[in-house]
């Protein structure tokens, strides 16, 4: 695929958003709160209700900005639509996550919404739920056992972030990647999009070996890893650090600040307020962040569930728009998504 075709397909994918997600507003430039209020009003107009339904909200964890926002929004939305939410937070413990899904099979809620999780760990549980005739919806989990997955358009935001990186670097330089994301499909897509863009910029070199983030203690660990990397790549030898989410680059940016390095820029995805603030800070070496709308993603999942109960046919994926915040517009984006 040449670059022009690539851009055309990106545009097509972008145009597909509105068709795929009737719940989602074309709200790229809107404040999240306003978009949300409007979507809520739309849900009310559509007569969506979960009255008398018990919905299990199962999340891989809630310690990151994205997780807690998406998780809390789902619980709030279930209650707002008159349902009862069973909130299950696995606290990033795989044994707990598998156990809570197993217990749900016997518990028989009216539906389950799974937020995140490595596919090999969650999918057997989702399959068991589906086989027990319990409808499964997901947030950021691509599984054939789910009726619908609510997610950002990771293809588009991954490409946008990659293009921003390429543009900031002037098409050449050395970059380091955090890539310990196997099994987490949204993150895999963002990495694939980066690679797709970089294919056309042969003067950008990915230094080896890749950095491998860990969970938990991600920030502390990435701080240490990047500090070590900086001594290996002195000024002028490294230009950017990229991660498929923004907690590792939050640690990376802090390491750059601590080392007084302004020649390296960081790039990430999610929109954790601390990281967006770094992108907005002209003195911090943070290049750009794709800001997701986890609150709206969570609410979209619940509204889709209500639509399903109302007999509507749903697309397999509902894309929720993300906004790219770079050094020029980050303050504006902070205002739009209600972070300042």
């Amino acid at each position: 695929m040449d670059r022009r075709t690539f851009f055309r397909s990106s545009l097509l994918a972008g145009a597909g958003l509105g068709l795929a997600a009737p719940a989602v507003l074309p709200g790229l430039a809107r404040a999240q709160g306003a978009a949300d209020a409007e979507a809520a009003a739309e849900a009310a107009r559509a007569g969506l209700s979960l009255a008398g339904k018990t919905i299990a909200i199962s999340a891989v964890g809630t310690e990151h900005f994205f997780d807690i926002k998406a998780y809390q929004a789902q619980i709030d939305e279930v209650e707002r639509l008159g349902g009862t939410a069973i909130g299950l937070d696995a606290q990033r413990n795989d044994q707990k996550l598998v156990s809570q899904l197993q217990t749900l099979v016997g518990q028989k809620p009216d539906a389950v919404i799974q937020t995140l999780g490595a596919l090999p760990i969650v999918d057997p549980g989702l399959k068991a739920l589906r086989e027990a005739d319990i409808p499964v919806f997901t947030v950021d989990v691509v599984s054939e056992n789910a009726i619908n997955n609510s997610t950002s358009d990771n293809f588009s935001l991954g490409a946008q972030l990659a293009l921003q990186l390429v543009s900031d670097l002037g098409g050449k330089g050395n970059i380091a990647l955090f890539t310990a994301i196997e099994g987490v499909v949204p993150c895999e897509i963002r990495l694939e999009q980066l690679r797709a863009v970089l294919k056309y910029y042969p003067e950008i070199n990915i230094i080896q070996p890749d950095l491998r983030e860990i969970i938990p203690n991600t920030i502390q660990d990435s701080f240490q890893k990047v500090t070590a990397l900086l001594s290996q790549y002195p000024e002028g030898k490294l230009d950017a650090i990229w991660a498929s989410w923004d907690i590792p680059v939050l640690g990376a940016t802090q390491a750059l600040l601590a080392a007084g390095r302004k020649d390296v820029l960081t790039y990430g995805v999610d929109g954790t307020p601390e990281y967006v603030a770094l992108v907005a800070d002209p003195n911090a070496p943070a290049g750009a962040v794709a800001v997701q709308q986890p609150d709206l993603i969570g609410r979209t999942a619940v509204r889709n569930l209500a639509r399903y109960f109302a007999g509507e046919t749903l697309p397999s994926t509902s894309f929720v728009p993300a906004i790219l915040a770079n050094r020029q517009n980050a303050t504006e984006v902070q205002k739009q998504v209600g972070q300042i």
């Binding site: 044994q95 598998v98 090999p120 760990i121 310990a180 491998r212």
Partner: protein, 337 residues
Amino acid sequence: MADLTAEGADHIAAKPTRHAGQSGFAALLPLAALLAFGLILLVFALSSAQFLRPGNLFQVIAQSSILAVLALGLTVVVIGGGENTLSGGIDLSLAANLGMGAAIYAVLAQAGQPDLLAIPAAILAGLALGAFNAFAIVVLGMLPLLATLGSMTLAVGIEQVVSRNTTILVATPLRRFLGGHDPLFGLPILAWALLLTSLIFALIVHYSRFGLNLQAVGGNPAAARAAGLNTRAWTAGSYLVSGFCGGLGALFSVGFLGASSTGSAEYLLPVIAATFLGTVFSRRLSPTIGGTLLAALFLGVLANGFQLLNISSYWVAGIQGVLMLAVVATTSLRRPL
């Protein structure tokens, strides 16, 4: 090395707990603990029709199996090393040992190696870490707390190198077997595996010469030495057993999750909690296999019951903490001032 007679070992093992009789409250504690456990089961049963179904109860046993098998290993270490919090037997490397074994198993399986090779590799890795602990503690004379803290870091490092810190899908005959259900009753195989393992451990630790000697060594090392026991060998042995449990836990874990997991460190505190909570189920307020099993199941039941009653799982951690404090407070009653 001379072996003790059963009577002699019992006498020595009983010696440090002679104060148990001094407090009527402490003597009643096991009964109270069992009653409390029963009461909680009753509350769950009355609140949720789902709770008492055999399928659910056995599922809880299966879900507790990984934690329980690690706690069994720690129990053996605490019995053999004595219960002193600072200088006694402790194995902080157990959870990391599981992570290391699971990573080794998963990587071998992913590379197409048969279970015949991958299973012994996981168990041998666990035993090797146990041997490392034994060497550091018995030969180098390091405090178990520090030695196993070091080996924990070592195991975490090996796990991260081997697995590249990723979740590796495991679809092997072992996974299908351990993650499956028995054909007769349709109950989880892991539940049976845990019950069988516990039974074997209980027989060895509480009803064999090996177990009695181990209790003697942990209870009163000076007396055990005077009776002709090679206490260093027994202490070393207890860490090997613990290492074995780490390897077995690794197999249980891949059987349960269908993958190697990067989060094995999460087990560390619950393993310690289960082992020390388990002491309230024993007459002498000492670690026992049965007590540890009950405590591990108790923690599993709490998580299951709370989910069925739609109570936040955050309470489980809170209650675990309160119980730990209560156990530490009450077991200190039996110690002389």
